[in-house]
């Protein structure tokens, strides 16, 4: 018998794997950056799934604090990655790394 938290946690791992596949297989930089964001969201979902724990069930605030911090990091990293992608586009006219082709 699986409880709710386990289902969420397993969903998180599956989403993480799909996003990792996307990150590796797509050449387009914006797609790569989006894949990274989905990977991040999967991790946050996993953290969310384990806020309920123990007997009797209480809400654990620590994972929430970690998710909030993680979101801040993700926003900063995404902004940085997008500005870098824009700079590459300005310079080369392409939104991909030179040696990569679309799968």
């Amino acid at each position: 018998m699986m409880d709710q938290a386990t289902i969420y946690a397993m969903a998180a791992v599956i989403v993480f794997c799909f996003a990792l596949w996307g990150l590796i297989s797509y050449a387009h930089l914006i797609r790569k950056i989006m894949a990274l964001n989905i990977m991040g969201s999967a991790v946050f979902l996993f953290f969310g799934a384990m806020t309920r724990r123990g007997e009797p069930e209480t809400t654990d605030p620590v994972p929430q604090a970690m998710v909030i911090t993680g979101i801040v990091v993700a926003v900063a990293a995404t902004a940085f990655a997008i500005s870098l992608a824009k700079a590459i586009h300005r310079r080369t006219g392409q939104l991909r790394l030179p040696e990569e082709r679309d799968a």
């Binding site: 990274l36 991790v43 384990m50 970690m66 940085f80 870098l84 700079a87 590459i88």
Partner: protein, 506 residues
């Protein structure tokens, strides 16, 4: 006294803020002053721990398991001290480097890269110190992410297309790796309900969730440390960055994730380490040594050659894993292999930063890093050539250099534990290293032919020289660093958990 640890993180951050807000003209002076202060603080923490033992600091008065703790033992301050020395030297070199380069590129008075360099570099330094002082898995994630982001940002001081694409590749690899690490952290927290390294290590059990966390965190950090065959991002990134930045990336940044891997393996997952695991890591390490060295020999550009050499040298550090883990029925952890591997890291940090700074000087002078343009370098740039050769001596592992001491320890550990095949890899790797170092030296001593060499600042060459000399000299006096490493030996388990929970020198 444990406040000093906090200052080793806060001082460079303050410096970053000051150089960012203040006028760009003053950035080198202010940044340099803060770099000096940070290095002195790092050295003082190192001395205090060497003298007085483990230090612990509860940030905001909140202790583990809930609060974030800073924890420094011998291994931490070994890293902290190494960073202080190398980072200070690179700071001095960059004082002259960026001034000269900007002058050559755009004439005086235009946009100065030093204005952008100092805030990012000091942030990177603060993040590295944070990573070395944290004993909390999530805090370590933040530190890793900060190190990754600021390392990529630092590369962007160089502004050609090659740097941009290399930086993008580095950024994507680094973000992917830290998310893998973070998912591992989540799994460990779900299972053990704490983020403290030592508390998790004390109650670890081998079950699927723990194994999965270990796999995710290890592979993530393999990518960040550029362990063969996940090193795809390293050569373009380290070779295209501006001179001092290459030195920072190769000498220090990859060591952060390496250090973290060791902490994870030998503190958190120590009970799960098996001889098989050691042999698997050893095979990757051997692949790095052979693959990286052969690639280095095939390169025709100096900075790519040095970057591939980093891939190879990282392999030596990973060899400490199969050699330290009990092998062949023996129960004991091999402390000599551990110390040898860590010592190799120190001598590589010194030698590699010297090499990249020497390469920066040559690049400024010749205007190209194609090795065939280096004819006559020994005559025109004697100091840089000598620094390169001395650093090479340490990388090859010739006596009396630091690299020799490290390899001596690794080889004797391989023979003592009956794993002679790793000794063959270590010695064979030394020969391959000699091949690519002598390839460069040979061109340096050929009779000069035009193009002419432009003069380069003496200070830049001198810092390369000082670092290279240190890389050789640490081979003569290895007692103190080894004593420090013994304080950080993670497999004296009982003592470790004991000091952490009970009597600690505050």
């Amino acid at each position: 006294m444990s406040d000093l640890v906090v200052w080793s993180i806060c001082l460079p951050l303050l410096g970053a803020a000051a150089t960012f807000v203040g006028p760009g003209r003053l950035a080198p002076a202010v940044g340099g002053a803060f770099a000096l202060a940070t290095a002195v603080t790092g050295a003082m923490v190192t001395w205090l721990v060497y003298d007085g033992g483990v230090m612990r600091h509860e940030l905001g008065g909140w202790g583990a398991p809930l609060g974030v703790e800073l924890y420094v033992d011998g291994l931490n301050v070994f890293m902290l001290g190494m960073t202080a020395v190398v980072a200070l030297a690179i700071s001095v070199a960059s004082l002259t480097y960026f001034g000269v380069r900007d002058h050559a590129a755009s004439g005086p008075g235009r946009w100065s890269s030093a204005g952008g360099y100092w805030p990012v570099w000091l942030t990177l330094w603060a993040s590295m110190n944070l990573a070395f002082a944290s004993a909390d898995l999530f805090n370590l994630y933040i530190a890793l992410e900060l190190v990754g982001l600021s390392a990529v940002a630092l590369m962007l001081i160089g502004r050609d297309t090659q740097v941009l694409t290399a930086a993008m590749r580095y950024l994507l690899a680094s973000l992917m790796a830290s998310l893998g690490y973070l998912l591992g952290v989540a799994m460990l927290y779900a299972r053990y309900g704490t983020l403290d390294l030592y508390l998790i290590g004390a109650q670890l059990t081998g079950e699927p969730a723990t194994w999965m966390a270990m796999a995710l965190m290890s592979v993530g950090l393999f990518v960040k440390t550029a362990l063969f065959p996940l090193h795809f991002w390293l050569p373009p990134a380290h070779s295209s960055a501006p001179g001092p930045v290459s030195a920072i990336l190769s000498a220090l940044v990859v060591k952060v994730s390496f250090y973290l891997l060791l902490r994870l393996w030998f503190v958190v997952f120590a009970d799960l380490l098996s001889p098989t695991f050691g042999q698997v890591v050893g095979v990757l390490a051997a692949g790095a040594i052979v693959g990286g060295s052969v690639q280095a020999i095939l390169q025709r550009r100096l900075k790519l050659l040095i970057a591939y050499s980093t891939v190879a040298q990282l392999g030596y550090m990973f060899l400490l894993v199969p050699l330290t883990i009990p092998y062949g029925g023996s129960e004991a952890w091999h402390g000599g292999a551990w110390s040898g591997g860590m010592y190799h890291m120190l001598s590589h940090a010194l030698a590699k930063s010297a090499m990249f700074l020497a390469a920066a000087a040559v690049l400024l002078s010749v205007g190209s890093d194609r090795i065939r343009h280096f004819r006559g370098m020994a005559h025109e740039l004697p100091v840089a050539t000598f620094a390169f050769a001395l650093a090479g001596v340490s990388l090859m592992g010739l006596p009396p250099s630091g690299g020799f001491v490290a390899k001596w320890f690794l080889v004797s550990a391989a023979i003592e534990t009956g794993q002679w095949w790793w000794a063959v890899v270590i010695l064979g790797g030394g020969l391959l290293t000699a091949a690519y170092i002598f390839m460069v030296i040979r061109y340096a001593f050929l009779p000069p032919s035009p193009p002419a060499f432009k003069p380069v600042p003496k200070l830049l060459q001198a810092t390369a020289m000082v670092l290279a000399l240190l890389a050789v000299l640490i081979g003569l006096r290895a007692v103190e660093p080894f004593a420090l490493l013994e304080m950080g030996t993670p497999f004296v388990e009982a003592a470790h958990v004991g000091t952490h929970q009970g009597e600690v020198a505050e």
